[in-house]
Symmetry: C2
Subunit: 126 residues, 2 copies
Amino acid sequence: MILELNFNSDEALYIQLRNQIILGIATNRFHEGDVLPSVRQLADAVGINMHTVNKAYTVLKQEGFVKVDRRKGAVIAIDANRLEAIEEMRVELKVLLAKASCRNISREEVHALIDEIYEEYGGLSQ
Amino acid sequence: MILELNFNSDEALYIQLRNQIILGIATNRFHEGDVLPSVRQLADAVGINMHTVNKAYTVLKQEGFVKVDRRKGAVIAIDANRLEAIEEMRVELKVLLAKASCRNISREEVHALIDEIYEEYGGLSQ
DNA sequence: ACTGTGTTATATCATGTGTATAACAAGTGG
DNA sequence: CCACTTGTTATACACATGATATAACACAGT
């Protein structure tokens, strides 16, 4: 597990955990069926409270990235609701691209940035 | 001024204001040199506190979208620091695209979404 | 029985958000 | 000069959120 937390960030710890796990899935370091550490283990490993990890797992469950098996713990299980995901992405992109447009960043430059980042993400088929 | 606030949103009011003003610049409804309403006027118009508007203007000033003229008030003035803006965008895109990748949204679909949104943003030359 | 899961319930503390009232320095227009 | 509006600052309060701490519960595995 390579999870690093920035305690000086303005981003909540449980959001950082959530993001890194999603990053981990996208970069193929976590696979469907993999079991995440228990809330107590992970909390101990990164030096934070159990409840903070639990909140991260709860969010991941609600967002459809893990399912919780009472016996095993949190298991990677992706619920690919594409339509919902695309609409959510559109909302986030609107503000992000507005900032880019104000800064004279071209459509082509954004495309190049997308490609660069997407290179590391293999899609679920990998 | 077409500024609408969602009081039920989990997004802070001053962030909503900031975003809508940035959207307004990108969609060419605000132009370089335009004067924004005074903090008291805008606060009264949308039904919130003066300090909340002030905070939005302060953030916009720090992010380089407006300059404050003691005589006029808040004036649209874009400080196009491209390098900084691109790095900021890369960080935001990483998580956003990771989610997309997990949901089996292809690189091409993201490009299409970018194009769709960018159609409304004219770039600063318009 | 014992341990390790997730889960739930309180409680506490710090921080962020939004409001409220007030005051200040400075520019504008009568 | 005077009244008014500008941004700015300070203080205070209520409320929600983030993070911690301690504790307990139901359930599964050994």
